[in-house]
Symmetry: C2
Subunit: 325 residues, 2 copies
């Protein structure tokens, strides 16, 4: 199974180090970062590529581009791991379209294309008889898409509720446990590397809403995008609100919820009892699926991280590999 | 996809009612209970079979047996749902051997054969190029076997910890929340139908240990049986112990744990912090998998129930169906 990897940020580096350690049966034939690329149809050493990237800042030749990798390299699966652009999904969506049109499978961790062009890309994959898989776009290491599509086969999913943003969950956990204000907790999250310099994408609920849209489209083929979600962040939440919830054996979490029969696609801070399975601490993610047969199933795990997200990407690669065999 | 169902207790009835409602593509060609059977290669109505069972106590003709169904009926999958015999695994293991030897797939909810004869049955299935699936034997509705074998593909499972017996978890929850003694909580569980008249199998940790053995064999192919597990139940636990744990923001749960590198296969009451994902309330089950890439993944859901367990059986049937297509 030959793979070409586009994007060598946190997830890309994690994937290459995992393939180096345990990638039996996987041959890396091309890698591209934002400024260079390298192609070898005989196979590249993931370790050598990583070392070159660390030493020079580039993974390959400055003259080569991701586009040339996608159009000319020899691969079975395009592994698209470039950074998310939530407004246009570019350049990732163009990369994915090109690979699918060439009859190549695609595995991506990029939320943009799946949130904005789900139906189009799924149809393109179907037309070309290849797979488009995106486990890593939602909830990091938790195999939630796999569970929805395979593990709970036969069930009708009626609704879902999730804690889908680790940064917000960390801030809310610290406000509750230490009585910090929102700004104090945000600064702490920044110092620990959980929050970006501009935290708006996380704390205003946009990241959680994009993941909710991806889940809703996967389950119910709703064809919705971010603008169809009602989104309230945690940035206006006071310490008083958190304290009042705590006094009732409850706490506040940023909950993403999809209830199609009520037409509800919403992200907002909610008061929930502390004993509820969705009340996870720190930067964890959690998702509860309400089904017709299995009842409520909750999955909890790390929502981010280099190796954790690479785990989801690797799972998708191996799924395609086994189907091909 | 033709199925023959052996066993028409709680799970069998649940499965037939689910197939009646949403069993598209599944043709029921035979059903056997402990005293009768019915075969129709053109297909049976699940609803009619259920109605006859309720009215007469029998699903079919008293002269016909499960053995005759297994040896002569026309089916692709034997769905073996007879009651668990933890000492001998009979008659289920004989049924399963016969079906596998006939080149038929087997789906079972029966813990006995999988706990006692895992390797032999897996090898027999492999030799005959058919599937043996048993999602329903562990943790009811939670698709844990599927997640282990498929969703977390590429991961090495290092250890696992689980709350695998809903009866014990209910008793411990009530001892902590209401200050009940063990016997008071047990009586309450009996009144609600969570505990059997003879609760030893649950409260002495045997049921949890059997499920732990099944999980350990699935993950690490250890070839162990119940006698390899160190088992302590909850029946000697005092209210004082529970109260002391509560005073430290912790609580007591019956934890099944498998840590192969320490040679540990153990079920025992453990003190754990209330914020830990394994601390679930009431009759819920929970399992935490510790992996090399995905970190810790926890799954929570209903560990028992007619329709919930049927959901796991149906998932296995549909998995085989899709592979065949």
């Amino acid at each position: 199974m030959k793979i070409a990897v586009i994007g060598l940020g946190t997830v890309g580096k994690g994937l290459l180090s995992v393939i180096d350690r345990k990638g039996e049966g996987i041959l890396l034939t091309a890698v591209a970062d934002s400024k260079s690329a390298i192609i070898s149809n005989q196979g590249l050493s993931p370790k050598t590529v990583l070392e070159k990237k660390v030493k020079t800042g580039l993974c390959g030749e400055p003259g080569l581009t991701a586009k040339s990798v996608i159009d000319t390299a020899d691969y079975d699966i395009l592994v698209e791991l470039s950074p998310t652009n939530a407004d246009t999904a570019e350049p990732a969506v163009t990369y994915i379209r090109s690979a699918l049109a060439r009859g190549k499978h695609v595995v991506t961790s990029n939320k943009g294309p799946i949130a904005l062009y789900y139906r189009e890309l799924k149809e393109l994959a179907h037309k070309n008889e290849v797979s488009l898989r995106y486990e890593a776009t939602v909830a990091g290491a938790i195999p939630i898409i796999h569970t929805l599509c395979h593990g709970l086969k036969g069930n009708t999913i009626k609704s879902l509720y999730g804690v889908l943003n680790g940064t917000c969950n960390y801030i809310l956990t610290r406000m509750a446990s230490e009585g910090l204000t929102y700004l104090q907790a945000l600064n702490e999250a920044r110092e620990l590397g959980y929050a970006e310099a501009d935290p708006a994408y996380d704390v205003k609920g946009i990241d959680a809403a994009i993941k909710l849209v991806i889940l809703a489209n996967t389950i119910w083929d709703m064809g919705i995008t971010l603008k169809d979600a009602k989104v309230t962040g945690i940035d206006l939440l006071t310490s008083d609100a958190v304290r009042l919830a705590e006094e009732q054996e409850s706490t506040i979490r940023l909950i993403a919820e999809a209830v199609p029969e009520k037409g509800m696609i919403r992200v907002s801070p909610r008061i929930i009892p502390k004993s509820h399975p969705l009340v996870v601490d720190g930067s964890l993610n959690a998702i509860t699926l309400c089904t017709d047969l299995a009842g409520e199933i909750t999955m909890i795990g790390k929502g981010a991280g280099s190796i954790e997200t690479a785990s989801a990407v690797l799972g998708d690669i191996l799924f395609i590999y086994e189907k091909k065999e």
